[in-house]
């Protein structure tokens, strides 16, 4: 298992994430793992007891997790949102924009490449789940 990249300061959740089905069945879990086929909106009534949501990317080309992440952030979830699985350096910047603030890739990422990925885009065209100001807003500020 590669190193966890985490971009938040609060304490880590100390218990493993459970499946969405298990989470909905029990009341004490504070961490859940979303698979690509899961509906992130099922979690919305329970956001206040969640401190960690893992979104699994079994294959990097399956982009459902990007929507899952944004849906959670749009609903106000402010706990840790961690991308796990086939997470590659070239997807990091988009994941960050969709609200992920932690990454647990299957394969270790090169630190310089990670830094370059996050520094790549001087601007953004559209609004997403991060706090970056879109170009079209800046143009008319």
């Amino acid at each position: 298992m590669a190193e966890l990249l985490r971009y938040r300061d609060d304490e880590m959740v100390d218990h493993p994430a459970v499946t969405v089905d298990a989470f909905l069945d029990q009341s004490n879990a504070g961490a859940v793992r979303i698979e690509p086929g899961d509906d992130a909106r099922d979690l919305l009534p329970h956001l206040e007891r969640l401190a960690l949501v893992e979104v699994n990317f079994p294959a990097f080309g399956d982009g459902r997790g990007y929507s899952s992440a944004r849906i959670l952030r749009e609903a106000g979830y402010d706990g840790e949102l961690r991308a796990v699985g086939d997470v590659l350096v070239d997807q990091l910047a988009y994941m960050r924009r969709c609200g992920f603030d932690a990454f647990e890739p299957d394969q270790q990422l090169n630190k310089d490449d990670v830094q370059a990925a996050f520094e790549r885009w001087p601007e953004v065209y559209q609004s997403a789940a991060d706090d970056r100001t879109p170009i079209w807003t800046k143009r008319h500020a």
Partner: protein
Amino acid sequence: MYKYDQYDQAMVDARVEEFRDQARRRLEGKLTEDQFKPLRLMNGLYLQLHAYMLRVAIPYGTLDSRQMHALADIADKYDRGYGHFTTRQNIQYNWIKLEDAADILADLSKVEMHAIQTSGNCIRNISSDHFAGAAADEVVDPRPYAELLRQWSSFHPEFSYLPRKFKIAVIASDTDRAAMRLHDIGIQIVQNDAGDLGAAFYVGGGMGRTPMIAPCINAFVPLDRLVTYAEACLRVYNRYGRRDNKYKARIKILVHELGAEEYARQVEEEFAHMLDQGVEPPFAELERIRTFFEDPLFEADASSDIDRSDPDFALWVDRNTVAHKADGYASAVISLKPVGGIPGDATAEQMRLMADLAKDYSFDELRVMHTQNIVLPHVRKADLHALWTALDEAGLGAPNLDTVEDIIACPGLDYCSLANARSIPVAQRISERFAKTGKTETLGQLKLKISGCINACGHHHAGHIGILGVDRKGVENYQLLLGGSEAEDVSLAKITGPGFDEHGIVDAVETVTTVYEREREDGERFLDTYRRIGMNPFKEALYG
């Protein structure tokens, strides 16, 4: 024309450096081909039969002479002196080296061009009406809306790993010159009874192995909610589009399986939620973009007289020029379909000539048509003869717009790694046959479209006559289809019956035109006659 500001330029420049870094990591072995492939595709770089191929975006098909010159320079410097204009208004180069690709992107960036999202499972280059801004019948120029969507869709963080590719077309007239309803999303800018502009959304069209005509899912989306509505359409697709089978992953399958009503309901639900999310750009941005597409300064007293004493010129005027909204002007189509030529190919010299002619005669503007021709949109009628003379000398004066010689053909097995059969030689033999028999002009409008495989890049489903190349036990075989249309009378062509070999298909096309000549009534196009009399008379003539 739209011009980049410092933000647009910074984004394109960043993309060049990102790709340079990705290519370097690939060449150093830090990326596997499986990992690199989607990244290079999102920069238009394919690995084709003979080399890498680079597809360069020409947003909504519009470019100026400086850009066309840059495309010519790239053809000379990095390729083999030519390029291929495509059915999505882009240009492709066939002989690219991976080690040169980032430099090419850097050259493009200097003239406000790029190859961003010209392939991959993301939102592709937005296409539009090639007569936008010139057409007499448009409600407004559709390109500002296409440009707004270009910005929205560029580097979209949520929609870059969709189930499959995603193509959007925007038009603004009832005449459809962009195959709008054969796109994943087709948008028609319309005006309601109150005089307000809005966008009609048609979702789930496409060609490929399962051709579908997009149903209208919302007849009027207010323009200040355009981007939000598009975002809702995409989110529903990203979440629920099929990912288990790439052949069923396009949005047309989702819309078909859910039904248009249910898909529309889900979009509306998502849309209602997104209205609070700040997705929509400030309306001032649309107004800013519109200022780039204001009319050029047309001469108020431009003459409408055309000296038709040269019959060759008169034929070209009749065939290749189109009514313009300004008196004394016409849109002139430069055919890239010389008899026996390769549809859509242009040499670097031809590109430079077209660029210079655009500068001299068309307010420095060119358009790429989805039919693989080039338009000079705003030409004074008084200049048409000089324009035609220059084109004709360069082999660009073929008077065959929308005729049986104006064939759409994909690159086919001569270039494409997906193809099952060659398309180009079939197009060449057909145009030669009709030029020889002299029937081209008498057959009138006859749209013939050839694909070298089921993916339908040559739009065979939408041809009045369509040809589909298939592989029959290692031998090229060609199926004939009749009755398709990409226009406002959109329909999908039907297969006539058993296929033909390379020579037989040329005879078969001639046979069906003979049936048309025999059966046609006054003013009927081939398509009209087919629709009236049906398939059987054609089948009888073909298969006896």
